[in-house]
């Protein structure tokens, strides 16, 4: 399993993982839109990047299939910091097709750090959110299913004490 640690506090979630590839190669997964869209969206919800200006200030725009009544189908990234091939900081959120934020859908910031560990790469992703409501909006698609699934698991978790 590539994920080696996850942690959370009241306003952020952090995941640490290690890949069997050099830092420069892992960086490409973020920098190259064609590679990015192979992994950003969950199965059944592939992301199509219509724009990927990987510079500061720059913006990326992507489209995901989903329930357009609940949230916009477009989302965007606004680059806050890019230090190839080690650090990336992005504001991320639902948007219109031009990449402009949509009122009522707050954006959140995530940061990525890539560190060489011999021939391997340690990646730390920290996702910040202002409140639970923002977190829920941020997740958007699939949220209802995930929520219901988590609820159904809760009884078992509580039963374990």
């Amino acid at each position: 399993m590539p994920v080696i640690d996850t942690s959370q506090d009241d306003t952020s979630f952090t995941v640490v993982t290690e890949f069997d590839a050099p830092v420069e190669r892992v960086w490409e997964l973020w920098a190259d839109a064609r590679q990015l869209e192979r992994w950003w969206g969950p199965p059944g919800y592939p992301a199509t990047f219509t724009r990927h200006d990987f510079t500061v200030p720059g913006r990326s725009v992507y489209w995901m299939p989903g329930d357009g009544d609940v949230h916009p189908n477009y989302a965007a990234w606004s680059f806050v910091d890019i230090q190839p091939p080690n650090a990336l900081e992005v504001d991320n959120g639902f948007a219109d097709e031009t990449g402009e934020p949509v009122p009522g859908f707050p954006w959140n910031r995530f940061s990525v750090r890539l560190e060489a560990d011999g021939p391997r790469t340690r990646m730390t992703v920290r996702v910040a959110f202002g409140s639970a409501a923002e977190l829920e909006r941020m997740l958007g698609y699939g949220m209802r299913e995930g929520f219901l699934a988590a609820l159904s698991q809760t009884d078992a978790i509580l039963a374990e004490g």
């Binding site: 590539p2 009241d10 069997d20 950003w40 996702v127 639970a132 995930g146 929520f147």
Partner: protein, 117 residues
């Protein structure tokens, strides 16, 4: 199935859990019902302060309080605790999925390099 919580409800849950003492109270209550007087004995603060924390948790819907004789008993509300868990579980699942897919792409590289040899 309970209905989807409103934004206000979700915010109350997270505000309630933003405090270490309140998280600890929730942990204990999930284990088994607790008397407010027993909870008060566990923390270095006044009975009134602990009562206030319990009241915040009660308003968030994470715990319920009932009277039993002279004692107040605090019990967990499973559905609400599930909501709080679900949000972060979902975020974690999302990123675990992304990382698995990233690893799969990197593995394809390795396989292709091997095939070239």
């Amino acid at each position: 199935m309970p209905s989807r919580p409103t934004d206000a409800e979700v915010d109350r849950i997270f505000q309630a859990l933003a405090d270490a003492t309140r998280r600890d109270i929730v942990r204990r209550v999930i284990g088994r019902e607790q008397r407010v007087s027993d909870l008060a004995g566990r923390y270095e603060m006044s009975f009134a302060a602990v009562q206030k924390h319990v009241a915040v948790l009660e308003r968030s819907g994470l715990v319920a309080k009932r009277r039993q004789g002279r004692e107040q008993i605090v019990s967990p509300v499973v559905a609400t605790i599930g909501r709080a868990r679900g949000l972060l579980d979902e975020l974690e699942a999302l990123w675990r999925g992304r990382i698995d897919r990233m690893a799969a792409i990197l593995q394809e590289d390795a396989a292709a390099a091997h095939a070239e040899r």
